[in-house]
Structures are given as structure tokens and as C-alpha cells.
């Protein structure tokens, strides 16, 4: 059984009990516990079920590499799935649930999968679920969906805040063990700005647990002094519970800080976006499990984790612990257990001879050590009951059985190379220590071509404390160009390990199919061997075929063992097989921390016109257009939006309507070469436009495709005002700047996006002139301001520029005033217009009126593959100009083909409204067996003016087929016939607008 010891536990405060709930049971831990240590103290070794076979699993590690003890923590909207119990601090009232089981952790139906494991081999998805095809929908998919997924989502929106910090530092150090602290001391004393981060809540890393002596005293004393020194330096920032998540190009580092484990007062988590001059990875090393049969039975743990639980939390995973190792370091666990008064009946060492200093200490205490021996099998189901032994150099014939309730295993240590590798740092195989370690000669390089990451300590492959501090000191001193002395470290000398990728070395299939490599995804030695036999010789392919290393722990425990097995199976050296790619984040971080403050109202900035508040107060329903919000319609009390739109159209056509057109793009093009530039930008001739006049113009890209349209006003000889679409203003301004700066940089032209400087109101309808005249100040008669003219003046005491342009076919004036006068003019128009029946109208009425007139809308009639000629706009393309942007593009043969889809109008035979985007079907099928098409609806509305559905469409050879009936396919399979007609449905001669 696992239990709380009566003494020890450097991180806990026994005097402060903490209550928590696990799977509904009330349990008690103490302050300083993690969820994992508190569960062990309550003899709860069983902490979860595995993903594929639902095998019972206990905690295996004590840090972020933990694959098994994943919990759902918290309740309701603060519930979080897949939290590692080893990193979850025990807080009062914490509730936790284990995962992957039904109906309960102790009894689980899905465990039948383990019995079926012979039928669920590597890649079984790909092999099993091929045929019959209909079974996918009715059998395979429902079953897979039931068993897929890890944990469940929280209930309700996240109530907490998350934030981002953006910082620049000279040196960012990831890892606050002794190597990281020493690096910070050197860099800090050299005057560098330093950010030191540690993923746990404690500084110092493993040194205090392992009992190193530094500068003649306990490691903890040196650590305390170092932390105090660093805290006193103004140029050093220190953050605990902050994990270096990813290293990116040019010294960019992401780190994730946990600020609260309960209900936070401020932000709950913080994402650090760090631009570092240099990054130091002091990320330590992770112990490797040993593949032996039953190495996943609850109670089998990493030797270092056993030591951590005993020393840090005063918790013993078992009373009788057998140790299985191939190295000297695991003997520290034996000594720690003995010191705590626990029994170590046996140490199984795969090495043929065991002679090191640490083993000698264990021997001196009477511990039985069996060299050249292996664990043949762990006995027990939900808990270790004993081990069967065999010779390491054999096939697994059992020689002896030993009773125990825990097994501590150590296959050696692997540096944590993730951050080093994220941005291209390469690793070298170290045969002596049987691991990959960063190669300082192949570091990630930055903008200036020099290395921007340095690995130190265990992360650099220097596992022993003395070597680690010595080399860290030398590397960082060189980096910041100072001289520094390394502290003296006393550690026991360690004899070399012997690589042990399997126990025993020639294990039978039966044993190999119980040796787990990836505990979370249930990948066994036999699976990797099968993959190799089936031809998956690349480590990247084997990973995906077997799912090795693809769980939430991303193979922190499994990768090296897995690729060693693959190498063995392929008869290759390990470095020739290589590693899979390390990708950020190092450990999972919350989506909320990535979103930061960008949620809700501030997810995206909103652009509001000067009249926005009036619209809101008068019941506008909104349409997002780019970042703008435009009124879609102004429904009155009890009126549907559809009815409101119909009313707005009718009233505008009969009386007078007001449209807030402030969002229209307004770009000023000015300079001696402005006219020349305008001729290049627009397809029509703009240089001949007279000051005081307006002209509708088209803009294409170099491909010849239509990208924007709008009315241009020539303000004076050197100045043009270009109106663009609402969504296009920024894009078109950038388009102009690009050509000016990068192609015609010697032309004397400036551009200015003045969109937000002006409020613009369209006064539209037969009574528009009466309304404006009633405000006084300007003569807007037909003679004073003819159609397609503009004039400056004063209306109702407000300086205004009035354009006589129409997007509705009605008599129409667009009045531009300084933005801060927009609301005043709007109020006066509403007030003065009351007697004339003035009503505001929204974007939907605008759209209907322009469609009734056959005016195109960018984004409806165009989609980036449409040229003006397709839309019957040939009249707006100058034949006289030698060149304009898109002219050469439009000369390409396929754009001149006569079977292109071209703009027409459509009238349904039954008067109904066609769905927007509906396709016109043609005879026959294409090469893919799909029905041939001959056109599609680009705009479709119910016209209140005509009392029926109208549509605009692009139809193959459309204008040649006026009067022909074509069928449009509906989503229910039916077809609706419609007659091709002119796209101009209303007032084809334009008599209404020119009065």
C-alpha cells in the first residue's frame, strides 16, 4: 500500500490539513501536497484508465511527463480535463475525477479491449474499418466516437481572465534548477536583463532531492542564497509556475504562467511573449522507464518519482519496493527509501557487474543486489503484488518470485531537448549515457546567423551536478563575456550505465506484448516491432501508425525507448533512426491563455459611424461589414425585419430615405502626377474628368479581375477623391500605396485614406431635393448641380460637399460633412423631413434598390475570377489608354472566350425568390460524375417595387440567351425554372435619377 510517512516531506506542512474530493469521496491531504501525493497518502494508487485498452493505471512520474494520472479538476465552468495530478497543487475544496472509465474507476467495461488486444494491433483503425463502406456511418463511426476523446469539456463559458505580457530581455532562462540559477547569477551580475522561469513552484530542481552538496553545504542552502541574490537584482525577473512552451524564429519565446489554481482574484493564467537576445534552456532531464512485462501495473513508477514522493511529500508509494535499473542513479532511490525506514527487498540491475559507489552504499546497508538480472513480469492487476525474475540475457525463464507492492524503475536519463529543438537545434547521440543531447555546434541560429539558444545542466547532457554547474558556468560566462567561478559540487561518482531497451533482452512475444512504451496511448514493444515488420521504417511513420508519442504527454517517457526498439528491429544504429520532430508547446497550455484578453467585446475592434448611437436608439438591426457595423434595417415596433426592408424601399422610391453612407471608403489622391496615376488605377479614363464632376470607375488587379468600384470626384486639377466599397477602403489604399512605392516611385503623388474624416449621408428619393432645400444654404437645382456633379457649400450651417450620384436609380444626393458634424446633420434631416415622410433605410434596402437597377455589388457579382466584361461593363474600360493595371491580364485568351458566364437578370416563372448562390443545371455530367452547371445566382431579393422575386446571375453566354428558361437546383433536389432577362428591372432609361 502507499501511505504517508511519519517524518520527512520538504515541501509539505503537516500541521495544515487540506480536504478534497476524488471521484466523490472526501479525502484529506496536507498543505504543499500535489493531487498525486495526496492520493498516494490515501492509498489511492489507481488514478486512471488508459486510452485504448482501459487498463488500470497509477501515477508513474512526479512532474509534467506524467502519462497516466490525468484528472478532470474543478466544477462547472471552471472544470478542466486532462490535468496532470503530479502538477496540480492540492487546494482546499478541490474536486477531481479520474478519466477513461465507465461505470467506475475500479470496474470498467472498456477494459474488455485489453482482452481483445491481439485484435487491436498497431494501425488497427487502418486495417479493420475498411469494409463494408456503409458500416462506417452506422457502426464504426458511432462506436469510435463513443470511445474517442480524453476527458470532457467544461460546462459554460470560462469566467476567468487571461492576459498576455510582451517583454524584451537580454537573456531568458527556462528552468530554475541549479544550472538555471547559476546561469541567472552570472548573467544578472554581468548587468544583463534576465527573465528566469521555473515550471514548478520551487526553485532548485532535483538537487535537494538527490542530496548534492554545493560549496560544502546542502544544495538547498546554496539555492536559497542564489534566489536571495537574484531577487535583489533589479535587472532580474523571476517567475515560478512558468513553463517555457515554445521557441520560435529570431529569439521569440512563449511561456505560460499559472497565477491561480482556484478562483482567481486577478488573471488566472498569463502568456508571456518574450523577445530574447539569447535563450538559455536549463530544462533538466527526464528518467526513462524500462520496457518489461507489466511495467504499467499501478505501483510501477520511475525511480526518481518514488524518490520525489518520499523526500518532497513524505509519501511512500509502497512498503516493499523492488528497484529495476541499468544505472547507478536509481540506487539513490534505494537509499532514500531505506532512510525513510522502508523496505527494499531487491535491486535488479541489468548490468553484468555492479561496482559503483552508490551501489556499494546500498550493499553496505544489506540490500540484495542481483546483477545481470531482469524483471520477467510484474504480478498484479490493479496493484503490484510481486515480480518474477529472470536472466537479463535470456528469453524470460522465471528463476524466482519476490513479493513487493511497488517497483521503481530507471532506464537512465534523457535531456529535455524540446525548446532547443523547436527552432532547428540539432541533437547528437551520446552512446555512453544512451541519450540524445543538444549539440552546441548545431544550435538554432537567429537573424544575425549566430546561435540564440544555449543548453545548460542536465538539459545539455551533463547529468551529474558537478559537471553540470562547471559547464553551465563556462558557457554562460562566455556568452556574456565575463569570468566566473563554478561552485564546488560534491556528488557520488557514478559508474557507466548499460543501455537496456528491453527486459529481458530476448523476451518472448508474450512478454513483449505486455511491455508498454507509451503508457497513455497503450503502445507496446510488440506494436513498434509489428510496424517495422510491416515496412514502417521511418520513425515519423512508425509514430503515426502506432500513435507512439502522440498522446497529451507527447512521448516524454516513450520516445527514446520507442525509437531504440525500432532501431533494434531494423538492425540500425539509434542515431540513424533519429527522433521525431519536437513541436511546441512543451506541455499543453490552455486555449484561453492563447486567446488572452481577445474575447467578447474586445475580440475585435468595432468601427462605428458618427450616427451609430442614433441608429441604435432607433432599433437598427446590424450587419457587420468589415470591422464596421451598418444598420441592416430599422424595424418598427411589431414589424418584422423583412417587412421593414420592404417599407424602407417603397418609402425611398415614393418619398425620401436617408442612408448612413459614412462607411464608404474615401481616398484622396493628390499631386502633379495624380491624373496619370488614376489612369493606371482605373480601367476607365480618369484624366479627362473635369473638376466639379464625378465618374463611376472600376479597379482591377494585374490579373484583370475586378477588385473594387466606386465614384471618383475630381476636386481640382491635382486632386481626386476616390470612393471605394465599405470593406475595400483599407485594401484599396494599400493597393495604391504598393504601386506608388514599388513601381512608380518617381511619380509625384500622395494618397490619404480619409474615410473616417467625413460623415456621409445619402438623401434619396423624389423628395430628396425638397428636403435638402428646406434646410437652406445651397442651391441644388438641376441646373446648379446636374447629375454626376459635386459642389461645396453650407447646408443648415454645416460645411458640406454634395455629390449628385445615385446607387438606387432615384434622385439622390450624397452629403459629406466633417465627421463631428455628421450626427447634427442627420438630426436636422430627420426633423425637417418629417413632413415629407423621411425614413432611414439600411443596407438591405440599399441592396434591393441597386439590384432593381442592375447595379453590381463587389463581392456579390464578383468573386475574384470575374472581369468587368463578364458584367457588361465594357463601357467602363478605356480603349484609348495604352496601359492600366489589369489591361494585359484581360487580353489573355481564356478571358476572351465567348462561353464565359456573364451577367443577366432572372425572373422566376412563379415569382418566387431564388436562393442566393443557387446553380443553374445543364445536361450531362462532368468527368467527376457531377451534374454539369451553366450558371449561378449572385444576388436575389424580393422586390417590393415589382412585387416578385428578382435575381442577378452569371450564366454561360447569358446575354445571348435573353428569354430562355433555365432550371436552378434547390438543396432538396427539386428545380426552379427562371427566365433570363435584362439585369435592369426598373426604370431602364434612368429617368428617375436625372430630374
Amino acid at each position: 500500500m502507499s501511505l504517508r510517512l511519519s517524518t520527512g516531506g520538504r515541501l509539505i506542512d503537516r500541521t495544515t490539513p487540506v480536504s478534497f474530493r476524488f471521484n466523490g469521496r472526501h479525502l484529506k491531504g496536507v498543505k504543499g501536497d500535489t493531487l498525486a501525493s495526496a492520493l498516494l497518502a490515501n492509498d489511492q494508487m489507481l488514478m486512471g484508465r488508459s486510452f485504448k485498452y482501459h487498463r488500470p493505471r497509477g501515477v508513474m512520474a512526479a512532474g509534467p511527463e506524467e502519462p497516466n494520472a490525468l484528472m478532470g479538476v474543478g466544477r462547472g465552468e471552471r472544470f478542466e480535463p486532462n490535468q496532470r495530478a503530479t502538477q496540480q497543487p492540492l487546494t482546499g475544496g478541490l474536486t477531481a475525477q479520474s478519466q477513461n472509465h465507465w461505470p467506475s474507476l475500479e470496474f470498467d467495461v472498456g477494459a474488455i479491449n485489453a482482452r481483445l488486444s491481439r485484435f487491436l494491433p498497431a494501425g488497427f483503425y487502418y486495417k479493420t474499418f475498411l469494409f463494408p463502406r456503409p458500416a462506417w456511418k452506422h457502426v464504426f463511426e458511432p462506436v469510435i466516437r463513443q470511445s474517442a476523446g480524453l476527458g470532457r469539456p467544461p460546462e459554460g463559458p470560462d469566467p476567468d481572465r487571461y492576459e498576455h505580457f510582451n517583454v524584451n530581455v537580454d537573456i531568458a532562462i527556462v528552468g530554475g534548477g541549479i544550472a538555471g540559477l547559476q546561469a541567472a547569477l552570472i548573467a544578472g551580475r554581468a548587468g544583463k536583463t534576465v527573465l528566469l522561469m521555473e515550471q514548478t513552484a520551487q526553485w532548485g530542481g532535483r538537487a535537494p532531492v538527490d542530496g548534492d552538496l554545493i560549496d560544502g553545504g546542502p544544495a538547498q542552502a546554496w539555492i536559497d542564497a542564489a534566489v536571495a541574490d537574484l531577487a535583489a537584482m533589479e535587472n532580474v525577473q523571476m517567475r515560478r509556475e512558468t513553463m517555457g512552451a515554445g521557441v520560435y524564429d529570431h529569439g521569440y519565446l512563449l511561456a505560460h504562467e499559472t497565477l491561480s489554481h482556484g478562483v482567481p482574484e486577478g488573471p488566472r493564467q498569463r502568456l508571456w511573449r518574450i523577445r530574447a537576445g539569447h535563450i538559455v534552456t536549463a530544462t533538466g532531464a527526464i528518467e526513462r522507464p524500462i520496457p518489461f512485462a507489466g511495467n504499467d501495473v499501478p505501483g510501477v513508477m520511475l525511480a526518481s518519482a518514488v524518490r520525489d514522493f518520499v523526500v518532497n511529500y513524505g509519501v511512500a508509494p509502497g512498503k516493499r519496493t523492488v528497484i529495476a535499473t541499468n544505472n547507478d542513479d536509481a540506487y539513490r532511490t534505494a537509499l532514500a527509501l531505506l532512510y525513510a525506514g522502508l523496505s527494499v527487498p531487491l535491486i535488479v540491475d541489468a548490468r553484468p557487474e555492479v561496482t559503483g559507489a552508490l551501489p556499494e552504499q546500498a550493499r553496505a546497508r544489506g540490500v540484495r543486489i542481483e546483477a545481470g538480472t531482469a524483471i520477467a513480469k510484474v504480478k498484479g492487476g490493479k496493484r503490484v503484488e510481486g515480480v518474477a525474475l529472470c536472466a537479463q540475457d535470456g528469453e524470460g525463464a522465471v528463476t524466482e518470485e519476490v513479493v513487493c507492492d511497488a517497483v521503481a524503475m530507471s532506464g537512465g536519463w534523457s535531456p529535455v531537448p524540446h525548446l532547443w529543438s523547436h527552432c532547428g537545434g540539432k541533437n547528437t547521440w551520446d552512446a555512453a549515457q544512451a541519450h540524445f543531447a543538444p549539440d552546441p555546434d548545431r544550435a538554432p541560429t537567429g537573424a544575425d546567423g549566430s546561435a540564440f539558444v544555449t543548453a545548460v545542466g542536465a538539459a545539455a547532457g551533463t547529468l551529474q551536478g558537478d559537471v553540470a554547474l562547471g559547464s553551465a558556468t563556462a558557457r554562460i560566462a562566455a556568452l556574456v563575456d565575463v569570468s566566473a567561478d563554478a561552485p564546488a559540487v560534491e556528488v557520488a561518482a557514478e559508474a557507466p550505465l548499460a543501455a537496456c531497451w528491453m527486459m529481458p533482452a530476448r523476451a518472448s512475444y508474450e512478454l513483449r506484448s505486455k511491455m508498454f512504451l507509451d503508457f497513455q496511448n497503450d503502445v507496446k514493444v510488440s506494436d513498434v516491432q509489428l510496424a517495422a515488420q510491416e515496412g514502417f521504417v521511418s520513425v515519423e511513420h512508425t509514430k503515426r501508425y502506432t500513435t507512439l508519442g502522440m498522446a497529451t504527454d507527447q512521448g516524454k517517457l516513450s520516445n527514446i525507448n520507442g525509437l531504440a526498439i525500432l532501431a533494434q528491429e531494423l538492425g540500425e544504429e539509434i542515431p540513424n533512426v533519429g527522433t521525431t520532430t519536437f513541436r511546441p508547446p512543451y506541455a499543453p497550455i490552455s486555449m484561453a491563455s492563447i486567446a488572452g484578453e481577445a474575447r467578447g467585446e474586445i475580440f475585435q475592434p468595432l468601427r462605428r459611424t458618427p450616427m451609430h448611437d442614433w441608429h441604435e436608439a432607433h432599433g437598427a438591426t446590424w450587419e457587420p461589414v468589415g470591422h464596421w457595423r451598418r444598420p441592416y434595417a430599422f424595424p418598427r415596433s411589431g414589424e418584422s425585419v423583412h417587412d421593414a426592408v420592404q417599407r424602407e424601399v417603397k418609402n425611398t422610391r415614393q418619398n425620401v430615405g436617408l442612408l448612413d453612407a459614412s462607411t464608404l471608403g474615401k481616398i484622396i489622391v493628390k499631386g502633379p502626377d495624380a491624373a496619370r496615376f488614376m489612369d493606371m488605377l482605373y480601367t476607365n479614363m480618369m484624366s479627362t474628368l473635369k473638376p466639379g464632376k464625378c465618374r463611376y470607375g472600376l479597379m482591377c488587379n494585374e490579373n484583370g479581375f475586378l477588385v473594387d468600384d466606386g465614384v471618383v470626384a475630381r476636386l481640382d486639377e491635382d486632386t481626386f477623391l476616390c470612393h471605394t466599397t465599405t470593406g475595400g477602403a483599407d485594401r484599396i489604399h494599400a493597393h495604391m500605396e504598393e504601386w506608388l512605392q514599388t513601381e512608380w516611385w518617381d511619380w509625384k503623388v500622395f494618397t490619404l485614406n480619409a474615410t473616417e474624416q467625413f460623415a456621409q449621408i445619402a438623401v434619396v428619393g423624389p423628395k430628396a431635393r425638397d428636403l435638402l432645400h428646406s434646410l437652406g444654404g445651397m442651391d441644388l437645382s438641376k441646373d446648379a448641380l446636374p447629375f454626376m456633379g459635386w459642389v461645396d457649400g453650407t447646408i443648415a450651417g454645416i460645411p458640406a460637399r454634395v455629390f449628385r450620384i445615385s446607387f438606387s436609380g432615384e434622385l439622390s444626393f450624397e452629403v459629406a460633412v466633417p465627421a463631428n458634424r455628421g450626427r447634427a446633420l442627420w438630426d436636422k434631416l430627420v426633423e425637417a423631413g418629417e413632413a415629407l415622410g423621411v425614413m432611414p433605410y439600411g443596407t438591405e434596402a440599399l441592396h434591393i434598390m441597386r439590384a432593381e437597377k442592375g447595379f453590381i455589388m463587389i463581392g456579390d457579382e464578383t468573386d475574384g475570377t470575374v472581369i468587368p466584361q463578364d458584367l457588361g461593363l465594357d463601357w467602363a474600360i478605356s480603349k484609348k489608354k495604352d496601359d492600366f493595371i489589369g489591361k494585359r491580364g484581360q487580353q489573355r485568351s481564356f478571358l476572351a472566350a465567348d462561353d464565359r458566364w456573364r451577367l443577366v437578370g432572372l425572373e422566376t416563372l412563379d415569382g418566387s425568390v431564388l436562393p442566393d448562390g443557387a446553380y443553374a443545371v445543364a445536361e450531362g455530367t462532368n468527368a467527376n460524375g457531377q451534374r454539369n452547371m451553366q450558371g449561378r445566382v449572385t444576388s436575389s431579393y424580393h422586390s417590393p417595387t415589382l412585387g416578385r422575386g428578382i435575381a442577378m446571375a452569371l450564366v454561360e453566354r447569358g446575354p445571348e440567351r435573353i428569354g430562355e428558361v433555365v432550371n436552378f437546383a434547390m438543396t432538396d433536389g427539386s428545380e426552379v425554372p427562371a427566365r433570363i432577362c435584362s439585369p435592369v428591372f426598373f426604370d431602364p432609361n434612368g429617368e428617375k435619377q436625372d430630374v
Binding site: D249, G251, R275, T445, G446, A447, A734, T742, R888
Partner: protein, 112 residues
């Protein structure tokens, strides 16, 4: 995430401040150009492993277009320069030569 120095305002820009504009030093071919020349201008682009010349705009800054010479493999930046030129300045070419002797890119470089 790259950092590039804007040659106009001097700011060391994060990539998020910039918009990418594709290959630099294109020669525009308009009406009168044959189909192959026009295709080359409009569509065909270098995809080098190593030295590359690109256009960037300091979109969330001074708004200016500039050129950058960098390595697509190591992300080393050899320099940035103003866009109002038809060829890379000598200083940039020298910086590339110091790292990649014998380099060439389109019709620029030591061996071109």
C-alpha cells in the same frame, strides 16, 4: 516569428507588424508583352533553398514597402533596404557573399 528592421523608420519590427509581399525585384510587363513574358512576370516565382529577396510592408507602422534579403533555410537576415530600387545594394550583396560565397539569385549574385 521573424524580426526585420524597417529601413525607413528604423524600428525592429515583429513579423506581426508586417505584411509579406512576395518576391522582390520583379519587372512589370504590361500590354504588348508576349504570353511567356507575362506569365513569368505574373505567376512564376523563385522558390530558393537559401538566399532570397522579398518584399515586406511595415503595415502596422510607417506603412512603407521595403525589401529584405534573407536565407529561407537558416532565417539569417542579410539586410533590409528601401523598395525604390531595381536591384539589391552592394552592401547587401557583400553581406550575402560573406556567408554564401558564389551565391546567385535570378540574375543577381556572384556567379550570375
Amino acid at each position: 516569428m521573424l524580426t526585420l528592421q524597417c529601413p525607413y523608420c528604423g524600428v525592429q519590427c515583429d513579423e506581426t507588424e508586417l505584411t509579406a509581399g512576395g518576391e522582390a525585384h520583379l519587372t512589370r510587363h504590361g500590354p504588348g508583352s508576349d504570353a511567356d513574358t507575362f506569365e513569368q512576370y505574373l505567376f512564376l516565382r523563385e522558390n530558393p533553398r537559401g538566399v532570397h529577396f522579398e518584399r515586406w510592408r511595415h503595415a502596422h507602422g510607417c506603412g512603407k514597402w521595403f525589401h529584405a534579403a534573407r536565407s529561407t533555410t537558416t532565417l539569417r537576415v542579410f539586410g533590409t533596404y528601401k523598395a525604390q530600387t531595381t536591384e539589391p545594394p552592394q552592401q547587401i550583396r557583400d553581406a550575402i557573399s560573406a556567408v554564401h560565397p558564389g551565391w546567385s539569385w535570378r540574375n543577381f549574385g556572384e556567379t550570375a
